[in-house]
């Protein structure tokens, strides 16, 4: 008989693919509370919302009107959940954070019960796209730490949008023990030139990137995509759950607000890793890769990584 694991075997996830009205935080909060009533009926254990879930993504200077302290956003989200009659749950959502006058594109992981809410983890987006249609670093500061954190479902990491586009970020999270990667995202769709594809190129590229991360490291990936058009730029939704073998369990449509449901069999993580032990191999070899003097890495503990 194999030993019994302490972690539960299953995790019931709901992704709320939101379509916020640009900049209308209170209205979007009310609509989220309404959607929570429907979500709560499914009795999920983890509910995930996208990047900029209650404001929209392309805010330019309006980000300073709309950014909130993490504690305030946490309170609002928890209240919306309680108001919807939901039981104890973990909530994840992306928002624009005002930390005493420094602004971040952040994601928060909350544990909410009937009586209290607790911020389990706050992640500040590290990779701020600032090219082409994107202009994040003009308005926001970079996060400097990729934290992993323990939950009752095992260790997790939050990666906001482009964070997950760099394979090294999911790699670091996995090496630090994350078993589930949660990716709140807002991706403006593009790429219609390939006849017969039936899907925007940008959606395909995202899915392939997430599948690669899941398969290589044996992790679940939960991707929550914002939807709706913002000044002609259509956010591609496509919220999805990918299992540790890289299989897409579910993928939402691109242009509709919706609820995605999935029951994650957490035992799959160990099985996938036993079957394809790339993470173990990497952990063994990584020190040699990182000690390469030709790599442009900071040496010593005083550098950027600890800020």
């Amino acid at each position: 008989m194999p030993p019994e694991s302490e972690a539960p075997a299953h995790l019931r996830v709901a992704i709320l693919q939101t379509k916020p009205a640009k900049g209308e935080y209170q209205r979007n909060l009310l609509e989220t509370a309404e959607a929570f009533s429907q979500v709560a009926a499914e009795v999920p254990e983890l509910v995930v919302l996208p990047e900029g879930a209650l404001t929209g993504y392309f805010l330019e200077g309006a980000v300073y009107d709309l950014a909130l302290p993490a504690s305030r956003f946490a309170h609002d989200l928890a209240q919306a959940w309680r108001g919807a009659g939901g039981d104890a749950v973990d909530l994840v959502a992306g928002f624009f954070e005002n930390d005493g006058g420094t602004y971040y594109n952040s994601a928060i992981y909350l544990h909410v019960t009937r009586d209290e809410d607790r911020i389990v983890h706050l992640h500040r987006k590290m990779f701020l796209p600032t090219y082409g249609v994107f202009d994040e670093e003009r308005f926001l500061s970079r996060g400097h730490k990729l934290g992993v954190f323990d939950t009752r479902f095992g260790r997790m990491a939050l990666l906001v949008c482009e964070d997950a586009y760099h394979s090294i970020v999911s790699t670091v999270a996995a090496v630090k023990g994350a078993r589930i990667l949660i990716v709140p995202s807002a991706s403006p769709g593009r790429g219609v030139e390939n006849e017969g594809e039936g899907e925007l190129e940008s959606i395909t590229r995202w899915r392939e990137t997430l599948q690669m991360a899941a398969r290589e490291h044996g992790v679940y990936v939960i991707y929550a995509g914002l939807t709706g058009f913002e000044g002609g730029k259509g956010m591609t939704g496509s919220s999805s759950v990918i299992d540790p073998r890289g299989r897409v369990l579910v993928q939402a449509p691109p242009t509709e607000a919706c609820i995605v449901r999935a029951d994650l069999d957490l035992r799959e993580i160990d099985l996938a890793r036993a079957n394809l032990p790339l993470l173990g191999d990497l952990t063994a070899v990584l020190p040699y890769l990182l000690q390469d003097e030709e790599l442009p890495l900071p040496r010593g503990r005083h550098d950027a990584a600890d800020r």
């Binding site: 009205a21 640009k22 900049g23 929209g56 392309f58 805010l59 330019e60 200077g61 309006a62 769709g189 219609v192 030139e193 390939n194 006849e195 017969g196 594809e197 039936g198 899907e199 925007l200 709706g228 058009f229 913002e230 000044g231 002609g232 259509g234 691109p254 242009t255």
Partner: protein
């Protein structure tokens, strides 16, 4: 002998399009933009008898329903009669309500004082009068004017500034002309409109491609690569002549101003769209 495997040589093809996917995307865009964001579920389209406005009308009907799409034909006395007839083909095929307003008295009311105006000036006056009519009809009908300018003409500057480019919502402005034709075939636009030579119909027997000095297929193929940053040398390797490359590059470089709002002198730390930055949908 072993077989040799290698990539295909670069071809000077214009960009392709997944027409079904694009239609789905643009229909979602129009619904979102008109119904949800602006709360105006009706569209107004100036139908010229050409393929761009026809495709726009077909997309709007898919998005909003035929009863919510109003066509308006705005002929001038020198417009080719077939333009009016071709626009009617679209109106009949879609079953949409329509209005026809002859812009000749309005155009001539001004041009009588400018008898020496050349064809270019006269064409610009016509285009601008059409915009006056379109926006006034928009206010009368509570229907949003929809833009019909494609990416090729926007990039080549082949349009009248503050006329063709004024409608607040444009579904096809990021599609090259070649892609618009492909979309037209998919949507079932009457063949006549797809097959005929494109024309602004501002002068007798005018065609776009004669005006531009290059076919749309070639211009689109050059433009698609030029926008990706290809050098003249790379473009030549893709099969384009020095003349084609120079013509397209010159037109794009000479018309950046046409793709912007007016240049405003900046005097403060709060200059609009320079320091004070708010998105269009905020």
């Amino acid at each position: 002998m072993l077989p040799i495997v290698e990539p295909a040589a670069p071809s000077p093809a214009p960009p392709g399009i997944d027409a079904a996917l694009t239609t789905e995307w643009l229909v979602a865009f129009l619904r979102d933009e008109l119904i949800e964001r602006r709360g105006i579920p009706r569209a107004l389209i100036g139908l010229s008898g050409g393929v761009d406005s026809a495709v726009t009308a077909y997309l709007c009907v898919r998005a909003l329903g035929a009863q919510n799409v109003r066509a308006i034909r705005m002929p001038y006395k020198t417009s080719h009669p077939s333009s009016l007839a071709d626009a009617q083909l679209v109106i009949d095929a879609l079953g949409i309500p329509s209005t026809t307003i002859d812009i000749s008295p309005a155009v001539d009311g001004y041009l009588q004082f400018e008898p020496d105006a050349d064809a270019r000036r006269r064409g610009n006056v016509m285009a601008r009068v059409r915009m006056v009519v379109l926006f006034d009809q928009s206010a009368k009908l509570v229907a949003l004017p929809i833009g019909t300018g494609n990416k090729t003409e926007r990039l080549l500057g082949y349009f009248t500034w503050h006329a063709d480019d004024t409608p607040p919502v444009n579904p096809i402005g990021d599609l090259f002309k070649s892609q618009v034709w492909a979309l037209a075939r998919y949507l079932g636009v009457p063949h006549r409109l797809i097959e005929k030579a494109p024309t602004a119909d501002l002068e007798a027997d005018q065609t776009d491609e004669a005006d531009l000095g290059i076919s749309y297929a070639r211009a689109d193929a050059v433009l698609a690569r030029l926008l990706l940053g290809y050098s003249d040398e790379q473009l030549a390797e893709h099969g384009f002549s020095a003349d084609e490359i120079a013509l397209v590059r010159r037109r794009v470089d000479a018309t950046h101003w046409k793709r912007h709002l007016p240049t405003t002198a900046m005097l403060s730390n709060t200059a609009i769209n320079e320091f004070y930055l708010r998105p269009v949908d905020y």
